[in-house]
Amino acid sequence: MSFALTDSFLPFQSLELGQSDESKKAFEVERQAISHAREPLSQGGWKRELFDNAIDLYLKCSKESWDGYEASPITMKALEQTSSLIDSLPPWAPKPDIIPTPEGEISMEWHTLSKQVLSAYPKEEHLIYAASLGPMNIQYGRFPFKESWPEEILLMLKKYFSHANS
């Protein structure tokens, strides 16, 4: 399922905000999808595809145990925080894979053919990250969540992952 909507998808816009939490959540996802779809393509590129992937995951993983192992549902907050991180990826950055975590977050992950891996995701007020960059080089930690990428992660992307996920 994709949410790369166009203006011709008018029935979607006539939805009214219901009273239940579920309908409020659904309305918010739809509102974001419509707003996203109206952005010019020139401002999207692969970021639009990533945002679509994040919404797809939110919808697919919104029920308990979506992974068969009692995973927590992906939250709206996780989707919002992930969206702002996608927005703030610099143009030179390699495209991440968008992966749901069993704890209810959305992780951005980069893999290289030589098995280097970086995984980063927002969790509450932090950006959690872990990276395996070589046999004796593993790094992990957290930064305060700021809707933009910490310099340390950007440096890691530049140095190790310029050909990731290709």
């Binding site: 068969g68 968008i98 992966i99 959690i128 990250y129 872990a130 395996s132 593993i138």
Partner: protein, 144 residues
Amino acid sequence: MPIPEKVEAGESISRFLFFTPGQFNPRTKNITPQAFKPANPKPPERFGRQSSVYRTQNLNEVEIWELGDEFVAKKRDLPILARADIQAEKIFTIDLEIIPDTRPHPRHANIVNWPNSPEARNMKGILLSQQATLFVNGKNEQSQ
């Protein structure tokens, strides 16, 4: 052949996978760092973090998939798309433990001793995913 009471370092451990892209990428054959990670604790049913696995030493391919179908997939009503196999020693090396939990099957076990901090759990998830080997379930390949 009976399986030892305690998990031995040389044993093969299998984690059955149901979800792509969350647990593996069928195109690149990468296992994601999330594949082995446990769900959040959910008291009172589940106080700690544990990842359900099977001890598949001395089983052939057909027997492993049958074990998964009968004792893992059926209960969840989901098709098994793949499995990640890893040697027990690789799990012990990063300070995780494998505790036999013989329900619903004598070969069932749980990976436990996951750290409290999410960044450390993520790091262990990465290390396990790097050491494991992906086996795609040909029977359910069309579901991916």
